[in-house]
Symmetry: D2
Subunit: 251 residues, 4 copies
Amino acid sequence: MASPIRVTVWNEGIHEKQSEKVRGIYPEGIHGAIAAHLKTQPGIKVVATATLDDPEQGLAEEVLAKTDVLIWWGHIGHDQVRDAIVDRVQKCVLEGMGLIVLHSAHYSKIFKRLMGTSGSLRWREARERERLWVVLPGHPIADGLPPYFELRETEMFGEVFDIPQPDELVFISWFEGGDVFRSGCCWHRGKGKVFFFGPGHQTHPIYHDANVLKVLTNGVRWAARREGSPMQFGCTQCKEPLSPIRPKENA
Amino acid sequence: MASPIRVTVWNEGIHEKQSEKVRGIYPEGIHGAIAAHLKTQPGIKVVATATLDDPEQGLAEEVLAKTDVLIWWGHIGHDQVRDAIVDRVQKCVLEGMGLIVLHSAHYSKIFKRLMGTSGSLRWREARERERLWVVLPGHPIADGLPPYFELRETEMFGEVFDIPQPDELVFISWFEGGDVFRSGCCWHRGKGKVFFFGPGHQTHPIYHDANVLKVLTNGVRWAARREGSPMQFGCTQCKEPLSPIRPKENA
Amino acid sequence: MASPIRVTVWNEGIHEKQSEKVRGIYPEGIHGAIAAHLKTQPGIKVVATATLDDPEQGLAEEVLAKTDVLIWWGHIGHDQVRDAIVDRVQKCVLEGMGLIVLHSAHYSKIFKRLMGTSGSLRWREARERERLWVVLPGHPIADGLPPYFELRETEMFGEVFDIPQPDELVFISWFEGGDVFRSGCCWHRGKGKVFFFGPGHQTHPIYHDANVLKVLTNGVRWAARREGSPMQFGCTQCKEPLSPIRPKENA
Amino acid sequence: MASPIRVTVWNEGIHEKQSEKVRGIYPEGIHGAIAAHLKTQPGIKVVATATLDDPEQGLAEEVLAKTDVLIWWGHIGHDQVRDAIVDRVQKCVLEGMGLIVLHSAHYSKIFKRLMGTSGSLRWREARERERLWVVLPGHPIADGLPPYFELRETEMFGEVFDIPQPDELVFISWFEGGDVFRSGCCWHRGKGKVFFFGPGHQTHPIYHDANVLKVLTNGVRWAARREGSPMQFGCTQCKEPLSPIRPKENA
């Protein structure tokens, strides 16, 4: 409990290079903004920020080995993420690393891999109001939040969202234009936990919003790697039965 | 996070008065044994032990008001618990108090109340071996446990167990005599959490077992009251819509 | 499969007596309107409609014994339903009868009994638009529905809705005034199934809407009593272990 | 409802070619045995059996297009299934085709793809007894089954089983040698349903057991493609908001 949660913030890092508008909102990149916030949170330590441009796309074995929670933002570079990297991240999650999947990363290879579904949804860019309602008010990710909070202008993400039913559904979003969305979803995968959080479009200053940042802090704490119980597979440890098996007459 | 989790251990307290054998195993009562263990655990504070003999059956408003997690053991005194006390405990759980329901308390009024089912199961007293398998190895309640652990002699509790599907199923028990049982089950109820744990018969020294005690410690940490998000109900806070409603022509 | 699903439609039946407006919408009562629709559906047979005024409040043993799905509408008469009747209906559900809980019956004794929570929610009467989104499109209750459907004027029911997490969440509602609501929720309870459906206020002609009626038809088919597998409880059938238990040396 | 459920039974078909013992148990192949049973069941029509040796590995577009439920048995040929075929089957499931995954197909590409986990488990071949307990007795897949049934000799599959928590857990297996296993698991994926069923080793006559065959029949009926509600994705259908969005002043 005493040692801090080690977080790596990954962002494909493309919009910031291409768009002055995005740079204006996130001068240090989306990853930089999220990392800057998390660094101020007690019990959390940002061990790395990383992008597609980094060696091994920022997700080398040694980076993941020291990561308790990986935060993932991606949009137009999903296809550039190499399958071997996706394999590696999936393996780390199944072994206990937390994963926080943000906004358009609903379409990332790693999210689709861990969900088994298409991750598809409906969307609209119309600068509309989003209101996130807490529907599981005792969940750790809701700690300190009001019953709902608003984002004045967002991209709409709407149902139907092609995901497995969440193990825990924390937020449902209302959109001004008439849509709803399961915007805060939790799943177990192997020993790891996955949290999808809907808001976060690159041209809206979502990651400067106090409630959104609180969700990210809470999400990191909830998804953090735990000791848990070892996963044993295969036949080596069970060749010898734990209890006696009676011989059976041949039929 | 800094303030300790305040635990009240409730036990009907009847077997200990009636049976020398039970007193031999639990000289301070089942509640006493559990409390003695929890007192040694960092971050946990036992604020009370209580039994049916105490004023207001040990569960006065002021006791519950300072309780973050209530542990409940009962067996032959379920019917003696007054309905008003059950109402009170249920209300506390819905408002965020954790509840850990042990062994034959599957038939307690409070468990049946919170589940909505009969809590019925199959059982057998035959001094048989129970082996608890961890099936959700990244869950906080599994922290530090081996892939399975054994209890040499237990009462069998077996399926079908009439409960709602758990939000999280942590343990499944194997019994020597041929039965299985969902022996570690988690549910959200309102802002509170409920954890049912199967082992714990009064004539077996279950609450002296190191793994069982670890489960109780982990269970307390998992079920502990959190800040969460406020629950608002009724019409007072929503008379004025958050977004404008257009007048409709009369049909 | 061949024999029709036997449905009883229960309605407290108070508004229709007190309000000309309600009688105008539902001349035969809400129960009458629902029954009239269901009677036209293949494979479904309405065996009874019933209200508080009927003998045993309309829910005599013999009525329930021939009921595969019970539909429940209540609002201002919840407290008049006798506890013994609630006990009886709960027992029938646990033994396999389906239950469809409509609108303000979120506060009925039977729904609170089966859920274990308060059933509380937020509400507003402002003649606003409701849009129900299908979020589990392969679920039987969604059969034949469009991706969303609208009700032009409804009472708002909003989150937070104090219910256990549904086993299956089929609909989420969007409200013009800014709220969302889990308006189509499924649970297993014992051998029975429970479906809660949000729309249905007495002063809006909700049960004349084609999509709502389709939901009710689908709900009846989904919740219908099935053969299933017998539930066995207690010790009679398990005194003799199924597999041998080895004698244990005394410790 | 009137038209029969169209089933394709797929089996890699390798053991039967290599082992006289397996041929002895399944002269027409595992797929043949399952198909022979299903053909006798009312409302079910076997449209194809298929193996790795068939054109397009037996899973051509036109085969899948006429399949409501696909049954999958595989073991030593998982790697031979081409990724393009896995993509195709996954797409069909998300669009509504049911999938029944048998025994060692817990390690098939398609199961791992749809689950997002490794599908790993513990196993032992020791000719031991398996007892399957029904834990969700009102579920369609439990129709007509006793509270438990036995298989005299099976391969042990044991926990921990690396799967997402099932939406519905129907069976838990007890093994003579001391293990337990979630042997009947249901999930929604997109518009489709997935049922994993544990028993079925090639050297035990599992698919000649009356209870196992009943489970397969029930599984087919449960997983069958339904009309459901259309899934709409992307931006085409939501460019125009359903409700008006107010212009926002620039900040």
